[in-house]
Symmetry: C2
Subunit: 146 residues, 2 copies
DNA sequence: TGACAATGGTTCTAACACGAACTAAATTTG
DNA sequence: CAAATTTAGTTCGTGTTAGAACCATTGTCA
């Protein structure tokens, strides 16, 4: 219980920074014809042989309940498919179809380029500073509850 | 088009930091019986005479279409109410009821204390560092599109 | 003043988010 | 081996989200 350092400006800065990123990124993704979670899944599955739904949920931080619906919609559009797991009949492997791989090859580089434009003026030192700050702040929230 | 400084670790650090905050914060808010947007609105309206829905949306970054529903649910539970604006019949003033003010007095300090716990070991210098990093990163996203 | 644009809110649709309940298929244990 | 527990996914209920269409009211301006 030290003196109450004024933490709200830090929290607000984090929220505003994230929302600026999210707005910038989501607008581009939607212009490419996907929703952000859909892009997230396509980007995760691209150039892989597929993975179980649980693994996919872990990597994308999408809850399993939500994942069912998102994969359903990707499957409806012919971009993803579910195939049986060889040894565990509880598992479903989710993977991109040919059409889904083609989509990935189109939208992933496009979105990366869109993001790269933000950082054209940033030095490696700046990235180091950003990452160090973000990781230490993240640590505060992770151990804060303990 | 300088060399492609590797920006993805920075973006990932931002997303992970924000999600750590969001998870930490939202769990507490839900335990207090509110959803995050509901808390946001109660916190914004607390200790004020109320404000128009547009103003409330601006402060909370909730779009007007969403705001209608969130305020509806707060009103259903007796925490908020809509009253007519004196001079502009298009406007509705949204404000907390007595019961809503009592809720605010209970949950707002509780949640602030919950957040403060994350920062018990943080110095003022650390906050300065975090805020500087977050604000410069935010700027990258804001002018990135231009 | 009378058309016309801008503003404030609500409604609608499609999609996502979370948690809880549920089914089926492993895995663990006694 | 059989019962109990865990794990994988789906389904369901409530709430949030963005954007577009819509209505009413105001403001502008020729």
């Amino acid at each position: 219980m030290t003196e109450p350092t004024d933490f709200m400006p830090t929290v607000q800065a984090l929220v505003q920074c994230y929302q600026a990123f999210e707005a910038y990124s989501a607008a581009d993704i939607r212009a490419l014809g996907l929703t952000p979670p859909q892009f997230d899944i396509v980007a995760t599955l691209g150039n892989t042989p597929g993975m179980t739904a649980t693994e996919l949920g872990d990597k994308t931080l999408i809850t399993k309940g939500t994942l069912t619906g998102v994969v359903d919609r990707l499957a409806d559009r012919g971009w993803a498919e579910r195939v049986a797991h060889g040894s565990d009949r509880r598992c479903q492997i989710v993977r991109l179809t040919k059409s889904g791989e083609a989509l990935f090859a189109k939208v992933f580089p496009a979105h990366m380029a869109h993001l790269a434009a933000c950082f054209s003026g940033a030095s490696a030192a700046e990235h180091t500073r950003w990452q160090a700050a973000l990781r230490s702040l993240e640590q505060a929230f992770r151990k804060g509850g303990a």
